[in-house]
Symmetry: C2
Subunit: 473 residues, 2 copies
């Protein structure tokens, strides 16, 4: 990262964290130059970059001023810094969420699953069936410990787009991304250790920390740019952090996407403090704009980044096929895979390998990216129309999850109870924090929001009930 | 357990552990009565029981004498007590074993897998394919956290034979038995804890201990009767043991089967010292004599026994379908399943449920039990003919694994290297111990020993090479 980029980044984070508010004058070229001990030209370049990025605007003969965010709706605010690493609890809440799977009469608006009813998945079912016929009882034998070679070959080829240059032997197949994350985290920590996570953070990761006696240090994460690197640096300085866990591409639940410059800076921080990064790229292929974002791993020259991903969000959760690019932690991760599950199911791996090789995967991705982007726009419109004033909405450029922040003091747990009377399940933001944050937030899945009137009506009903709850304050 | 049974058990263990040798006079009724402070009648009853069990014989007007073991060949000796809990290593050796899966030109004589080429599995492939057609993309959705209800129902029905009286809601499906064992062990321990295991012990269990920083206390285990309860009691008295892990039915690698009286006594010990038992029943259904042995769990009234099993050894390893009866540890085990893999593959679960329900499973079991019993007899004959004098062989009454003990000082690791030159892989006994035992032992899989001349020739070749290695001492 160049010097002026780093200066611009610092300023941008201060703006995002509210040190400078919309309309405030930004530090001048002269002040910036003095403060950072750089030339006037470098300071000028930093401010130009921020102008380009729509964070500041020039007022003639006056200087640079902080600009209002570009999104038509206000995006959620970045959370405040958590002062201490915390133990995670909330298993009961997560279990209640998961138990919805067993209740088919409940419309689950908050789930983190992709649409598995799309017609572009039909060829996958055929390939599964074909494979069973052609390979027969071969499929009953043990898979090799790292997983099916045919699938690893295909995943390695896909990596090229994200900049992840790997070969089949650099990959380990897992039982879904959850196994990938679980054994990656275990591979680099021991009980009592501190792990830096995004905040809000996917509860599946937080529950891994809970189960293995690890502490979560929540790093404020911006709805568009991802983890605050300024906050992370402070945390690395202060705490013995043993791993940094991030979803840089369309993070769950914010949908934020970390700019490449930040990925490089994150990697530099990890190098400086000698900490491994666990990168979850599960939503990366669902970028609405192509080419998809690069992975942090693609900048890594030393095997420090453990890249985890899966077909759970791109194809189907029920296949349980994930993978890890384990870098320098290969032996320990292979060991943890062996002791945890020994091996994965072969028949699903082979069908996906064929699905990719025969071009169906690319076709499917094109279709669902479109469907999800439309879904996002419909969901945002419905939320704007029906939710209480002051509601803020994330604006993801990939994936299928939206983060809705209701006014301060709103109780989404209460709203959840109300919605259950309508047989609608929402996901309260409280499960995404170990420090009691986000109780005024909810996560909404918009995979079929553009297609299904029931979903649309459900979103509107959530808004209406939220409004009533507000009025009853 | 009645008093006289408990006295008989103690004596039997002393005989098995060599305190009394073949031909020795056993303690008289009078001495036994004085030593154990019981009536003469009770002491008499204990000796009669031992006579019935073929451990002692009566010589007229002289008393009871220790009898030679019934098996035509000498069975392996029970190992000596290990004095301390030990950390487990040997991952490199296990990894080398597992890597054989990727080398199809190697004949793996030592593997722990069932025969997946049998024609009685054909209906399973058809059911897999039928399910995909009839259920279609439904199969791509998330499984419920405890697993498919249809399969849990079938497993609960099967339990009746083993005395395990459960219902679907008492079961959690896992990704193979390895996940079942891994999360069960984690559920009741924390790093640094001591776990009592059988010796020799399945290396997959030992590697779980290794990965999670647990220490193994190896309890001598008898080739016919299983874990020495006398040794276990001493260990429980001396060490803060947090879990007892056992394979009571046709243990891997010894093939031993714990008598019901011992199961009850084991449970009493666990109660007395308040320790959970993790019971691996993976080979239970492969008993050559029916009805199959009862589980330890079937005697348990308080949810202390965590029963783990799977279709890995009875149907096929590649399906990765196992289960747990978690007893009182349900919540923690469900949590560990969630954080470890989130859920299992549905389509394999549903096909197995149909396979059982439609009667194919029972038919398949009848067929393979026969095949394996014949395999055992062929393997024993070949080993007796071709292995060096002084070789001892286990005599399993179920499963498909035989344990061969070569004379003291023999080096099976060396033999393994020699055999690899013939593209034959054996499993050296050393991976079954954390304390360096069993380097003179090997594990042989006899699933197809009665059917396949290549296997027969390979066993003979192992014997020949072992003989040469002995001669070169």
């Amino acid at each position: 990262m160049k010097l002026y980029e780093s200066i611009a980044d610092t300023l941008r984070e201060r703006i995002e964290q509210g040190f400078y508010k919309v309309g405030d004058k930004s530090p001048s070229v002269r002040i910036l130059s003095a403060e950072r001990k750089v030339s006037l030209a470098t300071a000028q370049q930093a401010l130009w970059l921020l102008e380009q990025q729509q964070y500041v605007e020039v007022k003639a003969k006056s200087g640079f001023y902080v600009k209002a965010p570009q999104s038509a709706t206000s995006i959620p605010q970045i959370s405040r810094l958590t002062q201490y690493p915390l133990e995670v609890s909330q298993w009961d809440e997560v279990l209640a969420l998961l138990s919805c799977r067993e209740q088919p009469n409940i419309l689950n608006l908050g789930r983190g699953l992709c649409d598995v009813t799309v017609p572009t998945l039909k060829p996958l079912m055929r390939l599964l069936s074909d494979n069973i016929k052609s390979r027969g009882q071969q499929l009953l034998a043990y898979d090799s410990l790292p997983g099916q070679l045919a699938l690893r070959d295909q995943i390695a080829r896909l990596g090229i787009v994200s900049g992840t240059q790997i070969q089949a032997q650099d990959l380990i197949i897992t039982t879904g991304c959850q196994e990938a994350l679980s054994i990656s985290i275990q591979a680099v920590t021991k009980p009592g250790d501190v792990v830096a996570i995004e905040s809000p953070c996917f509860y599946g990761v937080m529950q891994i920390l809970n189960a293995h006696g690890l502490k979560a240090l929540e790093i404020p994460t911006h709805p568009t740019h991802g983890m605050s690197l300024e906050a992370l640096e402070m945390a690395l300085d202060q705490w013995p952090i043993r791993a940094i866990m991030a979803i840089p591409a369309f993070n769950n639940p914010l949908g934020s996407c970390m700019p490449d410059a930040n990925k490089q800076r994150l990697l530099q921080l990890a190098q400086h403090y000698d900490v491994p990064i666990i990168e979850d790229d599960i939503y990366g292929e669902l970028a609405y704009k192509q080419p998809r974002p690069r992975t942090i791993q693609s900048f890594d020259q030393e095997g420090r980044v453990i890249l985890c991903s899966s077909f759970t969000k791109t194809v189907a959760v029920g296949l349980r096929v994930g993978w890890i690019v384990p870098g320098r932690y290969r032996n320990r991760i292979l060991h943890l895979k062996y002791v945890g599950t020994a091996s994965a199911v072969s028949m699903t791996q082979l069908a996906i390998a064929d699905f990719i090789e025969q071009g169906y995967f690319e076709r499917h991705l094109r279709k669902v990216r479109q469907q999800y982007q439309m879904g996002r726009d419909v969901a945002i419109r419905l939320i704007k129309e029906s939710f209480p004033d002051g509601t803020r909405i994330s604006f993801p450029e990939g994936g299928f999850i939206i983060w809705v922040e209701l006014p301060h003091g709103f109780d989404a747990v209460q709203l959840d109870k109300r919605m259950m009377q309508h047989h609608i399940k929402i996901t309260s933001g409280s499960v995404f924090s170990a420090s009691g944050k986000y109780r005024n937030c909810i996560r909404i899945n918009y995979t079929r929001a553009a297609l299904d009137e029931k979903i649309q009506a459900a979103i509107q009903l959530v808004g209406k009930e939220a409004q009533q709850l507000m009025n009853s304050f």
